[in-house]
């Protein structure tokens, strides 16, 4: 009996909830016996020349085995993102110049972990401060350069060579333009970054690290160290969250590996939370200018998106994410004309990379704000304007003006479902009542309809399924779970073909000797690539088993069926178990699934906020969502992904922002200052189900990991603005903090309640 589509409880949890996980810093491994502990001295300045480093006192401190500076490391500085200006390289330890607060400068190795900070405090570094480049527009002027050799702060561009069309909005009754901020946020995974390294007598490096992609980390670290990839063995223990920030390797991992080689001893590193809040890559950080034009009856005719992307000090994955933002710019709407461009700039801040959604939430936030402001301008209901522009089901497959090949979708149905479930008409009536009564607490209703791209990074994934003579099964996967529940889900997929109970199926991942090929877990790719590969491999294993059983049972393959782990001749009691077959000859299938293209999950969210107009505080009262990622393998896991995504989406809209002062000092480097949400800030979520399959894989599945983040953020932001739009407010940047909301209300009042800021009409 199939268990696909059922709420199978996570097989991972008994251990997580009892003995606990084994994170990189928890490892007890004899190869790490006698390991030195790494403490990094990090730059306290955002932009400065290093004029002197004195490590003599530190070298004399108790337990110190070595103190290493950039001058000691014989590895060339690395370009961390291949598409960036080739001069924008990062040294392993800064020797001449530091470019962000938190950049590693000196490595201190001690016998015991607790001795590290004492010794690090004795390192003396003289800095000659330089003006910090924090603001993106200031960066674009190139007045102060981060990399003199580059001669510019522009890392790379997209669509910059062609000027925007001057006549782009001709024929539009109404044109609205607005600059909005998609703020920088911290992934803030509960497990901080960690790595341990040891070199064996065979000249091979074993590197344990907290990553979302062991194979990617292996390739990067080998490249950085200048060694053959075969000489690097990466092992991923349990990983306590990543949210995109742990894709591949971090430069610190290479430092750990180099130090292990240099000292001839194992080296362990586990960063502190304070280090994590400046050292680990962050996300979003776009300054967007959208222009939307259309007719007074609500048809959008043209949309333009101009993006300034903050890459941080050293370009990393963030430098490519505007590609997704541009691709997804028109969202769910059939807009005849779309143009976009992006300039990626370096600043004296922590590097930007992927964060839950990675380029797509930014696209959705912009188009959804644009639709809201367009709706306000023409005086039409925000949901109705959306409805009039949605791509219709009979238009799929649909290639957008952004170049995205949407596979399948039923956007209007999703919108209708959330509107109906929210009691939209009644909410609008209640809103009207409160407005007319002038009540202090106003109601805000935000609607978003979204589509995103999943599995867009790598379409192919490997899987191996092996049945053992004892009846157990081993599944090897190139995906890399860090909270998603692949051990449960992949076992369900193998069970579907093999009929062997999931408690006899072990899923292994994240060991590059065991699993040399794989792309890891990111971009909501795992089920539609790695999961399907497991499903396919198990199916192929069944066919192989039938071939072998046919000979053994002297039966025709077509007369065989596999039920509960046994190949039987239909209609007879003749048969042989898969375990027995495995006892005669290895029963194992390696398979690859290549989807060839990404999938495009979609959905709609309605957020309802109660907004105290005196204090400016908005509280999310309800959020009603459709997140359609095709058929659901395990509703429990799927809902978990939706919950987490929605929570982070609400949090970006209302709470989270990494802030620097003008000198580049991070002002939000602890959990007391950074707006990390707790359950108390969140409502109960209403999840509605829709399942529109894709034709791109045999399970029809798309990705769910990031959907909630993408849909919830604009819905909540929109609800906040909606709650005060009758006062003349047209836009509030995220996070819509009480302070910002209050200031927006005050500004609108001082303008006499007229529409403020940048909304303009050409009619």
């Amino acid at each position: 009996m199939s268990i696909m589509g059922t709420r199978v409880v996570r097989t991972e949890d008994p251990q997580f909830l009892s003995r606990g996980a084994t994170y990189t810093d928890d490892l007890i491994d004899e190869r790490l016996t006698g390991a030195l502990h790494l403490t990094l001295v990090r730059s306290p300045l955002a932009h400065a020349r290093i004029t002197a480093i004195d490590v003599e006192e530190a070298r004399k401190a108790p337990g110190v085995a070595a103190v290493i500076t950039g001058a000691d490391i014989d590895l060339p500085a690395a370009l961390l993102f291949p598409g960036a200006d080739k001069n924008m390289v990062r040294s392993w330890l800064a020797a001449d110049k530091v470019r962000f607060v938190g950049e590693p400068v000196v490595a201190v190795l001690t016998e015991e972990a607790y001795q590290g900070q004492d010794a690090a405090d004795l390192v003396e570094i003289d800095y000659d401060p330089l003006p910090a480049v924090i603001d993106l527009r200031a960066a674009a002027t190139d007045e102060v350069l981060l990399f003199e050799d580059a001669g510019t702060n522009t890392s790379n561009g997209m669509g910059l060579d062609d000027a925007f069309d001057e006549n782009f909005f001709d024929g539009c009754d109404v044109v609205v333009t607005k600059e909005i901020v998609n703020q920088r946020v911290a992934a803030a995974s509960l497990e901080t970054r960690a790595a341990s390294a040891v070199w064996g007598g065979d000249g091979r490096l074993t590197l344990w690290c907290s990553t979302q992609a062991a194979q990617g980390a292996k390739a990067e670290v080998a490249g950085w160290l200048g060694v053959e990839a075969d000489l690097v063995h990466v092992i991923t223990p349990d990983v306590g969250g990543g949210f995109g920030a742990k894709i591949g390797a971090d430069p610190e991992f290479a430092v750990v590996a180099w130090l292990a080689k240099h000292t001839g001893r194992p080296v362990r590193w586990n960063e502190t939370r304070s280090e994590n809040m400046t050292g680990m890559v962050q996300g979003r950080a776009q300054l967007q200018t959208f222009t939307i034009g259309g007719t007074k009856d609500g048809k959008v005719l043209a949309y333009r998106l101009d993006v300034l992307q903050d890459a941080g000090a050293y370009p990393r994955l963030g430098a490519v994410l505007p590609m997704f933002t541009r691709m997804m710019a028109p969202g769910v709407y059939d807009i005849p004309k779309v143009e976009s461009r992006a300039r990626i700039l370096v600043t004296n801040t922590t590097s930007i990379a992927a964060y839950r959604g990675a380029g797509r939430p930014e696209a959705t936030a912009a188009i959804e704000r644009a639709m809201d402001m367009f709706a306000l301008e023409i005086g039409m209901d925000a949901a109705e304007v959306r409805r009039r522009n949605l791509i219709q089901p009979d238009q799929f497959p649909f290639t957008t003006k952004g170049g995205a090949p949407y596979d399948s979708g039923e956007y209007e149905k999703a919108l209708d479902m959330v509107l109906e479930a929210s009691g939209y008409t009644g909410l609008r009536a209640e809103q009207k009542r409160r407005r007319e009564a002038g009540e202090v607490v106003q109601l805000g209703i935000g609607v978003s309809v979204f589509v995103e791209i999943t599995g867009g990074g790598a379409f192919s994934e490997d899987a191996s399924v092996q049945v053992h003579p004892d009846g157990t099964v081993t599944v090897l996967t190139g995906t890399s779970p860090h909270g998603q529940g692949h051990a449960t889900a992949w076992a369900m997929l193998a069970n579907e073909h093999l009929g062997i109970p999931i408690d006899k199926i072990t899923v292994k991942h994240g060991d590059t000797d065991l699993i040399p090929r794989g792309s890891g877990t990111m971009g909501s790719r795992s089920l539609q690539t790695g999961g399907v590969a497991v499903y396919k491999a198990a199916g192929e294993l069944v066919e192989l088993a039938k071939q072998r059983a046919a000979d053994l049972l002297e039966a025709n393959v077509d007369d065989l069926e596999v039920v509960e782990g046994r190949v039987g001749v239909k209609g007879t009691d003749k048969g042989v178990t898969l375990a027995e077959l495995a006892g005669k000859e290895e029963l194992k299938v390696d398979s690859v699934f290549d989807s060839g293209a990404p999938t495009f999950p979609f959905g709609a969210h309605v957020a309802v906020v109660e907004l105290d107009t005196e204090s400016g505080k908005a509280v999310v009262d309800k959020i009603i969502t459709v997140d359609d990622a095709g058929p659901v393998l395990n509703p429990l896991l799927c809902e978990g992904q939706r919950h987490g995504g929605i929570a982070q989406g609400i949090s970006q809209a209302l709470l989270e922002e990494v802030v620097y002062d003008e000198d580049g000092n991070p002002l939000t480097a602890t959990f007391a200052d950074y707006g990390f949400p707790s359950a108390a800030e969140l409502p109960s979520f209403t999840l509605l189900d829709m399942a529109t399959p894709t034709h791109l894989n045999p399970l029809g599945v798309k990705g769910i990991g990031e959907a909630g983040t993408i849909g919830a953020t604009p819905a909540v932001q929109s609800a906040v603005v909606d709650a005060v739009s009758h006062l003349g407010v047209r836009h509030i940047d995220m996070p819509a903090s009480p302070l910002r909301v209050w200031e927006a209300i005050e500004a609108a009042r001082s303008e006499g309640g007229a529409p403020i800021d940048t909304a303009r009409s050409t009619s």
Partner: protein, 270 residues
């Protein structure tokens, strides 16, 4: 997040703690609940040579009615205040304010003496005790003295306490059923107040509106002079110089003080 090395003593009596303070008070820090001290030590913003842990001194943990006052041992946990029938009956404001501090873990460790002595203007309990017109009882080997809370604070994180002194008791008047309210404004449930307003019996204490907890004197005077709540609340930020940070500008805090004072006074009026 490893602090600088330090000595650690855990005396089992107030006299034991005072003896240690007398000997090494200049270089020592008192540890009660630890929720303020330990983070700053881990961030190496504080590096005491000696930590004197008074967290298990039983004689510091009590709540008792004493004449017109309620006497509260300095080691009384926030949770004790929340859960106390005496507090609920005699000083209900204090229990309600204690309930807003941090989360349950914090409230089971944090103490009223620690909160008052730490002198963080963003803390809830100091402003509540200020509104109540309470007294802080300090003891040293030189003897004991009672300092009215109005005279206790000298600045951010600073008080009139001498290095050899320990907060041993907090005394607050029994307010009984007199009108009271606490309005705490935060972004997140566990945050420190952006602004807080404690009202009891016509007195108004302000959280995070200056270098120390403050009384909204102009509001109190207006109320005493018969002003309406709206009129009095409009004066709540008079004479204050609130901090400016990511959570709020000075103007926003002043505005919040007025809004929250109005709400607290309205609630207190019943």
């Amino acid at each position: 997040m490893i602090p600088v090395g330090f000595d650690y003593e855990r005396p089992d009596s107030v006299d034991g703690a005072l003896a240690l303070l007398a000997e090494r008070g200049e270089d020592a820090k008192i540890l009660a609940g630890g929720h303020s001290l330990l983070p700053v030590m881990k961030l190496r913003l504080a590096a005491p040579e000696l930590v004197i842990d008074i967290g298990r001194i039983a004689e510091l943990r009590y709540i008792r009615v004493d004449g017109d006052e309620v006497a509260i041992g300095a080691g009384t946990r926030h949770h004790d205040l929340e859960a106390s029938a005496e507090i609920a009956a005699e000083v209900p404001l204090l229990g309600a304010v204690a309930r807003t501090v941090g989360d349950p873990q914090v409230r089971h460790r944090g103490t009223i003496g620690g909160s008052l002595a730490h002198a963080d203007p963003a803390s809830d309990l100091p402003a509540a005790v200020l509104a109540l017109g309470g007294t802080v009882v300090l003891r040293s080997p030189r003897g004991e003295r009672s300092v009215p809370i109005t005279d206790f604070y000298t600045g951010v994180f600073s008080t009139v306490m001498e290095p050899d002194e320990l907060v041993v008791e907090i005394r607050v008047p029994r307010t009984g059923t007199a009108g009271w309210a606490y309005e705490k404004f935060t972004r997140r449930a566990n945050d420190w107040a952006i602004v807080g307003v404690a009202v009891v019996d016509g007195r108004v204490g302000l959280v995070n509106m200056g270098q120390t907890p403050l009384r909204a004197s102009a509001t109190e005077a207006a109320l005493a002079g018969g002003a309406s709540i709206d009129e009095a609340a409009a004066l709540a930020a008079e004479g204050t110089d609130p901090p400016a940070d990511l959570a709020g500008t000075k103007a926003y805090r002043a505005h919040l003080a007025r809004v929250l004072t109005k709400r607290a006074l309205t609630t207190a009026q019943g």
